[in-house]
Symmetry: C2
Subunit: 226 residues, 2 copies
DNA sequence: TCTTTTCCTGACCGTATGGTCAGAAGCTAC
DNA sequence: GTAGCTTCTGACCATACGGTCAGGAAAAGA
């Protein structure tokens, strides 16, 4: 008779490596298909083709389309939450907010599909992740709003509404992922280069930071104090 | 035998009134359903139910689901283009850009469904309105970028990248429509009141205008010239 | 080698969808 | 009234979808 420890060791072996690898391949394919076709437009067959396996194999790892979809949405949400570290470990407002903007822009660049899936989900009324919005996201938002309010109280930034500042950061950074196709079309049909991503990030960060008084006014402008 | 003028008069009569009214009812229902379910998730049956008519009647007015969808997308695009008037008729940069932001926020409030349909369409690679992006939108954008560049050259605003300024305005204003559900959830589950919409609009306008140097720095801040 | 467990897959099923069509019902002009 | 349209609709069809299942293949342990 084998004991529990033995079973654990087996579970961590090659068999579960296969499982992990297959699930990952499916999740990558699903993220792309859900992003490009929406939940309703995506088909299990398409995801299976993209993952390079028969459809029935998908259902071996993920019972239903919704299960698979939920996992994809959870993934991007987790990534976004991690970007919050910039906020908490920052020396001052400019570093905290600026770093958060940089992190969110980087995520938009590296995970455009996930961002689109999240956007789609929220736009359709968050049918499968409403609980996340009401618990995790609400809690996260309130914490970050307090941090911003503290910076306001300390005189580091202007007395803006922390809520709308957060929305502006989310909107602007995610726009580069969600509306990437439009941006690409307006960029002569070509994806943004490294340099253009840098310019976009700098533009966003500077306009927002200056807008909340965390940066000095641009030189040579009407209210330039010089 | 009736002549052409007679036919025209008939065409403009009650019969075509019915046609117009029915098409309008279908378009309103379709906009909502497409926004809430996406193109793939929307069904002609659902749209028909919402419009209060049998499904076959939809196909009498709109041959296919795609035809109907295209009309919905075209509608919101037309509305957005009209908001550009603020740009051209403005006395200065602050009035032009500020007015455009106000107009876009008002559209987000009045036409949230249309905004979502557009967002969905672009996110999925603009399969049916790619031509609009490449012609109308590209032309419009270039014109507005020139206007912004002129304001920069005249020293009215800081030397920001006009392109990214436009993207920021689009992103921020449309966010209040596209992510309205998330905003509502973070607002204790209640839609924004008149007062809250006012505050949101003011926040967006002021941060952006201050960010590009079209407004004096907020009082009491680090670089306050006072 | 034999057993057990995990992994894989072709074939299949019930359902829902976009779209069609023949013909009914209603309006307008003469 | 009646001829000539526009508008409306129930019934129908082919297809495609999500999901199931029986059983084969492969790996792991004894």
């Amino acid at each position: 008779m084998e004991d529990a420890a033995r079973k654990m060791r087996i579970k961590a072996g090659r068999r579960t490596d296969i499982r992990r690898a297959r699930e990952e391949a499916i999740l990558v394919a699903a993220e792309k298909v859900f992003a490009e076709a929406g939940f309703g437009g995506a088909t299990m067959q398409l995801i299976a083709d993209m993952a390079g396996m028969p459809k029935a194999n998908l259902h071996y790892y993920f019972a239903t389309k919704e299960d698979l979809y939920r996992r994809v949405v959870e993934n991007i949400f987790t990534i976004w939450l991690k970007a919050a570290d910039c906020f908490d470990n920052a020396a001052d407002a400019a570093a905290g907010i600026g770093g958060y903007i940089e992190a969110k822009m980087e995520i938009s660049r590296r995970h455009p599909f996930g961002s689109k899936v999240w956007a789609s989900e929220v736009m359709h009324g968050a049918p499968v992740i409403q609980d996340y919005l009401e618990t995790a996201l609400r809690g996260w938002t309130e914490g970050r709003m307090r941090a911003i309010q503290r910076w306001i109280d300390e005189g580091q930034i202007a007395a803006v509404d922390p809520r709308h500042l957060l929305y502006m950061i989310w909107a602007t950074t995610q726009h580069y992922a969600d509306f990437g196709h439009q941006i690409e079309t307006l960029n002569a049909g070509k994806p943004l280069t490294d340099r253009q991503w840098r310019a976009a990030t700098d533009s966003v960060r500077e306009i927002i930071l200056r807008g909340i008084g965390a940066l000095p006014p641009a030189p040579g402008k009407p209210w330039d104090p010089s």
